[in-house]
Symmetry: C2
Subunit: 238 residues, 2 copies
């Protein structure tokens, strides 16, 4: 028979891992639902996302509490300690993904009933699909401890940033074409920014996976970022 | 003579507290400098803020490492444990304030050399002063364990949100008046949003102060938030 203490400890680690999986599933679903509520002008769906965010916040507090209790009780060393720290960090990132989904849902309610230009819809959908796929991949890498996969996610964030930058320009163009577009395009700008930030959280999680498995803390700047802050001229010629 | 172990432990707690103070000072200064770089079109200042953010990130990792090492070594109970958890949480919020300041600085570089309408400047200045004052007050409350002060900060976040909402409308108006305003106003929109989020982090810290001192975890929704997502019509009459 296994040692009783070790078994209880293993169970604690498994519970933490289960919470992270649950948080991952919830935030993935919230992001998908927020996007659908935005693109299909579905207020009911949007309200559900806003409500769900509270449960995600609670789970994050639970992870924090359990993780710290485990550290205090078990005094884990090296790889076990890294596993617990990783859970803490990932729960933070997922909680923030939930906040971003909630903000998209709020904006979906604000621009409700408006038929969005299909070019913008495609841009946002494409960006969101990439961000969701990055998040799914990195959460799988977290579970399996797959460093290569995590590194791939880390490197691929550039793609999301590139789409964001082009979407940003596109939205500005729509705004300049017709003042009636300004208000809803502003909401879409923030939505796009939120998706870009979800991508950043996926790269954060990728760094955490690498740290958890190898103990190495990435020091480099992320291959980010939102280039709209430096690339877009303040006063375009058109 | 005091017990050696206890003294070493006390020193660890003091070191953590010192790190938090240092992080607080840094993020306050970064926010101030980012604002000045934006309002005075000072690119050199903006670049300094962007560079400083790396130091703040490092400090946050240091707090995390030290806090967790202390929990593992000392197995603190009750109020000591809360103090360490509080340090962890506050360092997270301050690191994010630094990120927001960095983003403002990046946008300052993007809209460089543009003379901003004084009405917008006043609005942003006013909002930033409030957010900075909230942050300073709550960091003082953190050091002194002043729950009343923390509650005051928590309640006053409404003010920042109100200014944000009115500034948001104002910016939309500028954009609608003249398409040449759209690009820089978009950057200012994001800057204003960043300041609003700094205010949110101040309320997070307020919640942490209350938790640290009383052990009570606030369950209510924050008195937030960014109402622009729900209040601004997508297609205003004007």
């Amino acid at each position: 028979m296994a040692d009783h203490t070790v078994t209880a400890y293993d169970e604690e680690l498994q519970t933490l891992a289960r919470y992270i999986s649950e948080m991952g599933g919830m935030s993935e679903s919230m992001i998908g639902e927020a996007l659908q509520s935005l693109l299909q002008a579905d207020t009911v769906r949007a309200k559900k996302v806003i409500a769900d965010d509270k449960d995600l916040d609670k789970l994050q507090r639970q992870v924090e509490e359990d993780a710290i209790l485990t550290i205090a009780k078990r005094q884990p060393m090296a790889s076990d300690l890294r596993e617990i720290i990783a859970a803490l960090r990932v729960s933070n990132d997922l909680e923030r993904c939930g906040d971003l989904a909630k903000n998209i849902a709020k904006r979906a309610i604000a621009i409700e009933s408006l038929v969005l230009p299909s070019k913008l819809v495609h841009g946002i959908e494409h960006m969101a699909e990439l961000a969701q796929s990055q998040l799914t991949k990195v959460l799988n890498a977290f579970v399996s401890g797959d460093v290569e996969q995590a590194e791939l996610v880390w490197k691929n964030d550039n793609e999301i940033d590139a789409i964001y930058t082009s979407l940003f320009r596109e939205l500005l163009t729509y705004m300049m074409e017709d003042p009636r577009n300004i208000s809803y395009c502003t909401h879409l700008l923030f939505c796009a920014k939120n998706i870009e930030r979800i991508g950043d959280h996926a790269t954060n999680i990728a760094e955490t996976v690498i740290y958890k498995v190898t103990g190495v803390q990435l020091e480099d700047e992320r291959p980010k970022g939102d280039n709209s802050a430096i690339q877009v001229p303040y006063n375009p010629a058109t």
